[in-house]
């Protein structure tokens, strides 16, 4: 830089020296090169990992291959749900020669006119032209054939095979099997295993056993260039197919039950009392889960969800009904255990009971006369159980009802199970801040009023009576199997508790249930089998609570006011193999509506599984067998009343 120099005695500026300025320049250069080097150190050493990941994300695309979903078998390994190929029409825009012609031809073959729109949408989404666009899913056979035969006229169009869930028997067991659907955005937030477009179990078994059925998606790591063109396969991760699920359900029994229910609304649960395994579970009206696998249309969905019959609800576990006279089994057990009732106790039924300031009727207007607990169950006498209720009291009744599993969820591994209701004075205090009126006990005693139960709960009650008080967790899956058939996980019976039944009490109830089906004056003859001794109890629950005291004549009231028909049963009497509860909505009385259904199911069941040691056929006779009580009884009424309960 300039320095002061003296020249000829004058102070002047010196000539700037090159050397000095070169030194300044060198310093500047060194500084700049140092800065660049530090920057390179920062990028290549400090932030190296981050950039490696970014470079890989640049070049690696992951093409996911969802795993094949596991199959569902019945107890004998007969497939109920499998996966079938579904065809999609796919267009690779790059390979299409004449776009307009291709679109119009394709539209003709598929009978679709939104193909152009779908292709335009893909272009708007900036999808590269070599990326296939699905223009139509779930092609039917006709469409597949016409595309196949016209392949040559449609360059750039191809068929792609996608797995699709297939419910072989349509609506059979739909509520238990459930359905699958495309994963929703809400589901995606909870898990990172799923991608948009994946299939996920939405309901029933498909939902609950999603993790077993689903398997693990595999995929291919593909190297792509900057425009996304696939260059080479880097790595292939094989998918792990989902496990198959073996149900305890028996296809034949289930079919028999579905058929017996026909098109009536209601539910049926058949359970193995020795294990808690579900043998059949029917809920009607049902739906066809295949429509979900096909991609349900908004119209179909609206139809299902707005149907006043609620076909999507599983009535076996979600339907809560007043148990009606089937509840008398609970009364009898509770009172006998509580010793407020003995086998010898008799009450007189004149056809009604004056209590408080009104009359509580018996279903049999002419009354049952004087009778003990056995005849009271067989003839389903209301007045007898009014008396039992009065003497027992609601809270001791509730205690036993809870022990039997009423008013609580059974714990079956299905969503949306309802607990039903078993009222008690404390419950009423908490719920309504009111004390319990003894008159309310009368309603509860005949299974009306506040009490409500699911068919599954009543099937469990029947199972508990049958097996001597073992409370098993109801299960419908026996095992999860790998593709090669090896058992990955088995689901052994789970004994939840033992109900401390007095064996003599059980014997009284059992013999009465036997006579309900087989004895003179029994209300459940409809379920009688010739070769197997069936024990059961009918029930008729009023839909309209105390619809006046005068009942409208049978079959003349509008359907929605008609009573629900119940039937609970187990068989054979000795060494029971099956326990059933069935409810037919608005079916009228249980003996004639639910009874025949139970009969058909039992008949099918015992045709398949004849009881060990041939059971002597019991003719319909009056003499109850092995009746511990020699109590004198009034002769049974001559004829079975038109309206039995």
């Amino acid at each position: 830089m300039a320095r002061w120099r003296y020249y000829r005695g004058k102070k002047v500026r010196a000539i700037p020296r090159i050397e000095l300025r070169v030194t300044i320049l060198s310093t500047l250069i060194a500084l700049v090169l140092a800065v660049v080097s530090v920057r390179l150190y920062y990028l290549q050493i400090i932030r190296h990992k981050e950039f490696v990941e970014l470079a890989d994300r640049n070049r690696i695309r992951i093409h996911r291959q969802p795993a094949l979903r596991g199959l569902v078998f019945d107890v004998h390994h007969r497939p109920l749900v499998d996966t079938r190929p579904s065809f999609e029409a796919v267009v690779v825009p790059e390979d299409v020669r004449n776009a307009r012609q291709t679109i119009s031809r394709l539209g003709g073959y598929l009978g679709e006119n939104n193909i152009a729109a779908k292709l335009a949408q893909a272009e708007d989404d900036d999808r590269p032209p070599f990326d296939p666009v699905t223009v139509e899913e779930h092609l039917d056979w006709q469409q597949v054939v016409s595309l196949e035969t016209h392949q040559l006229q449609l360059p750039g169009v191809s068929l792609e095979v996608m797995p699709q869930r297939h419910y072989i028997y349509g609506s059979l067991g739909a509520h238990l099997l459930g359905y699958v659907g495309e994963v929703a955005e809400g589901d995606l937030r909870h898990t990172n295993d799923y991608r948009m477009g994946d299939e996920i179990g939405k309901f029933g078994l498909e939902r609950v056993f999603e993790s077993e059925l689903r398997g693990q998606a595999g995929g291919q790591e593909i190297e792509v260039d900057s425009v996304g063109r696939r260059l080479k396969l880097l790595r292939e991760i094989p998918e792990i197919p989902g496990q198959s699920v073996v149900l305890s359900l028996d296809l034949d029994v289930q079919q028999a039950a579905e058929q017996a229910m026909g098109n009536r609304s209601g539910a049926l649960v058949a359970i193995d009392p020795n294990t808690g395994y579900i043998i059949a579970m029917v809920s009607h009206p049902a739906f066809d889960p295949n429509i979900f696998a096909n991609g349900i249309t908004p119209v179909q969905w609206r139809a299902l969800t707005t149907d006043p019959q609620h076909p999507l609800a599983n009535r076996a576990i979600q339907g809560i009904y007043p148990p009606g006279s089937t509840f008398k089994l609970v009364d009898a057990i509770a009172a006998l255990e509580d010793r407020t009732l003995t086998p010898e106790t008799t009450y007189y039924c004149p056809g009604g009971l004056w209590y408080g300031n009104r009359v509580y009727h018996c279903w049999r207007k002419q009354g049952h006369g004087t009778l003990s607990v056995h005849r009271a169950i067989v003839g389903s006498c209301d007045v007898f159980f009014y008396q039992v209720g009065i003497h027992l009291g609601i809270d001791r009744l509730a205690q036993w009802a809870h022990l039997l599993g009423l008013g609580e969820k059974s714990g079956i591994e299905l969503d949306n199970e309802r607990a039903g209701l078993m009222p008690s004075s404390r419950w009423k205090e908490q719920r309504f801040h009111q004390r319990w009126y003894p008159a309310e006990t009368l309603s509860v005693a005949i299974g009306q009023g506040y009490v409500a139960a699911t068919p599954l709960q009543m099937a469990l009650v029947a199972a508990e009576i049958a097996n001597g008080g073992a409370r098993y967790k109801p299960q419908f899956v026996k095992a999860a199997e790998a593709l090669d058939g090896s058992v990955v996980r088995s689901f052994p019976p789970i004994l939840e508790r033992r109900i401390p039944f007095d064996p003599s009490v059980l014997e009284i109830v059992r013999s009465a249930m036997c006579d309900v089906v087989n004895g003179v004056g029994g209300t459940g003859h409809a379920a009688h089998l010739d070769n197997v001794v069936v024990c059961g109890k009918t029930g008729t629950s009023q839909v309209v609570k105390e619809a006046g005291n005068a009942r409208i004549p049978e079959n003349k009231e509008p359907l929605k006011y008609r009573d629900h028909g119940w039937f609970v049963a187990y068989a054979p009497r000795d060494h029971p193999q099956i326990a059933i509860a069935c409810v037919i909505e608005h079916g009228g009385h249980g003996g004639s509506s639910a009874g025949p259904v139970v009969h058909d199911v039992l008949q099918k069941f015992f045709a398949l599984y004849p009881p060990p040691g041939s059971q002597p056929s019991i003719p319909v006779t009056g003499a109850p067998q092995a009746m511990p009580s020699p109590a004198p009884q009034r002769p049974p009424p001559g004829s079975i009343a038109a309206r039995q309960d």
Binding site: L43, V52, S226
Partner: protein, 367 residues
């Protein structure tokens, strides 16, 4: 003309070998950058680059032998020819990527702006070789250098080629500074430049503005203007300490890098050879620059001194801006990495310049 034996004896092998070393790095990088998918084969680009290295080496040797002092006589004619070529580009230039930069001469395509760098240095040094007056070059004495710069600068910016324009300006500034500009004028010029920046912004092309904006915030438009910066940083960073290995860089091979044989060749190299390779390359450049400075310090005449400074400045500014741009410390401007980037005009011009530097170094013993 008989070759003076001293020329051989004092030949600057250091600079010669470093120059060839850089050209070799360039050849490898061009090979790697053009290896890209899906062909995986030797691109004709590589062969052409090899040919140019050969031509360049011959020219470098010839320039080394040639007495640089004679260049002073060619300075103005060469300058006029170069400006003429730049003007010809305006009229008959070959357009690529939106700018008109090449002259198609049948067999080869010439990029006159590469020649302009050398011609401008030569003419500038020719003017500045006179001893400056006491106190240094005054403002008025800088009018002619300003005009000498202004004509080619305007033509280059018109192409548009902002990168070359910047280099022309920076090299001129460096020469004027070293050549003895008055200190006050220097300060005033720096101040004026700072004030002129906003005005200059006004004259930038939209794409140039875009680049500057995206440089300040590359994530603002990751697929648009910021894309180049981001992809280049990814390539360099992914190289890590030792690099992915020759021909194994994915950023270049799969075409994620823009202009990967020319402006972003450094990213290709850095991805495959890592920090170790990058530092080695930087050291090589530092060596060439240090040698240039050394030659300037030891040259026997002012012409030789300033010529060495000028050519060294070309190397330095181009390296600094190119690598700075590739590593994201400077905005994206199209400047080749000297001796490494693909391109015959740039390579041959730079090798010729190195030859002149060798000539200056060799001749300090001759007179």
């Amino acid at each position: 003309m008989a070759l003076d034996r001293r020329l051989v004896y004092h030949f600057d092998w250091t600079l010669f070998m470093m120059t060839l070393g850089l050209a070799g790095v360039g050849l490898l990088s061009v090979l790697s950058a053009s290896w890209g998918a899906p062909k995986h084969a030797l691109d004709p680009l590589v062969v052409r680059q090899l040919v140019w290295i050969g031509v360049g080496t011959a020219l470098m040797a010839a320039a080394a032998i040639f007495d640089y002092r004679a260049l002073a006589a060619y300075a103005y004619p060469l300058y006029v020819v170069t400006v003429g070529l730049l003007a010809a580009v305006m009229v008959a230039g070959h357009v690529t990527g939106g700018s008109r930069r090449w002259l198609n001469l049948g067999v080869i395509r010439l990029e006159p702006s590469e020649l302009a760098k050398l011609a401008l240095v030569l003419v500038m040094v020719r003017y500045l070789r006179e001893e400056p007056p006491r106190g240094g070059w005054s403002f008025r004495q800088m009018i002619i250098p300003a005009l000498l710069l202004g004509v080619p600068l305007a033509l280059v910016l018109k192409q548009p080629d902002l990168g070359t324009g910047i280099i022309l300006a920076l090299v001129t500034a460096t020469l004027v500074f070293v050549g003895g500009l008055n200190g006050r004028v220097l300060l005033a010029a720096m101040l004026a430049a700072a004030l002129a920046a906003p005005v200059g912004w006004h004259y930038l092309k939209p794409y140039q503005k875009e680049r500057l904006v995206s440089f300040l915030n590359p994530q603002s438009d990751p697929l648009g203007a910021g894309y180049h910066i981001i992809q280049s940083e990814i390539a360099i960073g992914a190289g890590g300490a030792w690099g992915k290995g020759f021909l194994k860089g994915t950023q270049a091979r799969l075409n994620f890098l823009p202009e990967q044989t020319t402006d972003f060749i450094f990213s290709v190299f850095a991805e495959e050879f890592g920090f170790a390779g990058s530092i080695l390359l930087m050291a090589l450049y530092a060596g060439v620059i240090a040698r240039g400075i050394w030659i300037a310090r030891h040259a026997r005449d002012r012409f030789g001194q300033l010529l060495a400074v000028g050519f060294t400045a070309i190397v330095f500014w181009q390296v600094a801006i190119n690598i700075g741009m590739a590593s994201g410390v400077l905005p994206v401007v199209g400047i080749p990495l000297p001796l490494v980037s693909y391109g015959g005009s740039s390579l041959i011009a730079m090798m010729a310049a190195m030859g002149v530097m060798i000539s200056i170094n060799t001749r300090r013993y001759l007179f």
